[in-house]
């Protein structure tokens, strides 16, 4: 696995681990590293059946690492439920401010109807049919609303990743 691939894979594992243990868990990096270590070790030992199965294999390892961590933690002290992610705390204040502004701007660019649609879709978990009926949109309209909103947030996310990378150097 090339360095770049490992870095990307590490990001995905980090997301997966954070999803499971919460974003405020102090041991996220250790869990990601341990998963990566076991995965690379298994790959070197030719334990991976096929390239296609790599993601599922890594997911299995990640699950085991988290389970072991939880068992260890429960033995010592009770662990709280998932804690919400703190907002971009690792970024310098100016960059946090810029990102906050970009996010606010992205939200402002959404029309009231689009916000209603997005909230119904993402937060209220209404079915596509319900949303179409409630708003009078066609499926194509809905797809456009989703794609437009997602594109803005994808750009902001990439910018925050670049900021993080730059501030780490």
């Amino acid at each position: 696995m090339a360095d770049l691939q490992i870095e990307k894979f590490g990001q995905k594992l980090r997301f997966r681990v954070c999803y499971e243990v919460g974003f405020a868990c102090p041991d996220i990096d250790d869990l990601v590293q341990e998963t990566l270590r076991r995965f690379l070790e298994a790959t070197r030992a030719d334990k991976l059946r096929s390239e296609e199965a790599a993601a599922a294999f890594a997911n299995g390892i990640c699950r085991n690492v988290i389970s072991e961590y939880r068992r260890r933690l429960y033995r010592d002290a009770p662990m709280p439920e998932v804690i919400p992610e703190p907002s971009a705390r690792s970024l310098p204040e100016t960059e946090q401010f810029e990102l906050r502004q970009a996010l606010d701007e992205a939200m402002k660019q959404l029309s009231p109807r689009d916000r209603l649609v997005l909230r119904a879709f993402y937060l209220e978990e209404q079915s596509t049919e319900e949303i179409l009926e409630r708003t009078g949109l066609t499926l194509e309209n809905l797809r456009v609303v989703l794609c437009r909103a997602k594109e803005r947030f994808r750009q902001i996310y990439s910018r925050s990743v670049q900021y993080r990378a730059a501030s780490n150097h």
């Binding site: 909230r119 993402y122 937060l123």
Partner: protein
């Protein structure tokens, strides 16, 4: 999953939303994880969705939209008077989590009312996370500051476990039986 994901973005977004809200079944969540760990495109989309959902959850809503949401929110809760105790109940299955509208509805109901004796029935609450716990404590503090009392009724086993782990049940009185809970308010006069 791969085929559906790359041909039907609406279905993909639905799956992402349910995954992030933790309402996806275990097997479907595992399938999604197996997929995004190997697919850069879906991983980027998932991260963007997460950011979008976080912003949607915290954004101020327009008054017209807010009114619609208010109606939806309030219909999820009902309150009734039992003597001088206000009993707040969820009318359907509810979750007290950061992305749930049930939580905002509950906080709004407790905050805006002047009741001094409040009993919250948690019978229909299937999940609670740290945001929900924080908000419950906020309701409790609000009641105490206004010389009131707040108690909890019939938490489901999962919620009970969290209340016990965080030791909140030792601060906020919790009851299994409604009559006993109502009687406990009488001792306060």
């Amino acid at each position: 999953m791969e085929k559906t994901f790359h041909t039907d973005p609406v279905a993909r977004e639905h799956t992402f939303a349910r995954y992030l809200a933790r309402t996806l079944s275990t097997s479907a969540a595992e399938q999604l994880e197996n997929h995004y760990l190997g697919c850069d495109e879906c991983f980027e989309e998932l991260r963007a969705t997460k950011l979008l959902i976080r912003e949607l959850g915290g954004m101020p809503v327009d008054s017209a939209v807010e009114r619609t949401l208010e109606n939806v929110m309030e219909s999820a809760l009902e309150s009734a008077l039992a003597g001088d105790v206000t009993v707040i109940r969820f009318t359907g299955s509810a979750q007290l989590t950061c992305s749930s509208s049930d939580l905002s509805a509950l906080v709004r109901m407790v905050d805006t009312r002047g009741d001094t004796k409040v009993l919250i029935d948690l019978q229909k609450v299937s999940r609670i996370d740290s945001t929900g716990l924080g908000m419950l404590m906020r309701c409790y503090t609000h009641a105490v500051r206004n010389a009131g009392v707040l108690k909890l009724l019939q938490p489901t086993p999962q919620v009970k476990r969290v209340l016990s782990l965080t030791k909140i049940d030792s601060i906020v009185p919790t009851f299994e039986d409604e009559t006993a809970a109502l009687l406990s308010f009488r001792d306060l006069g």
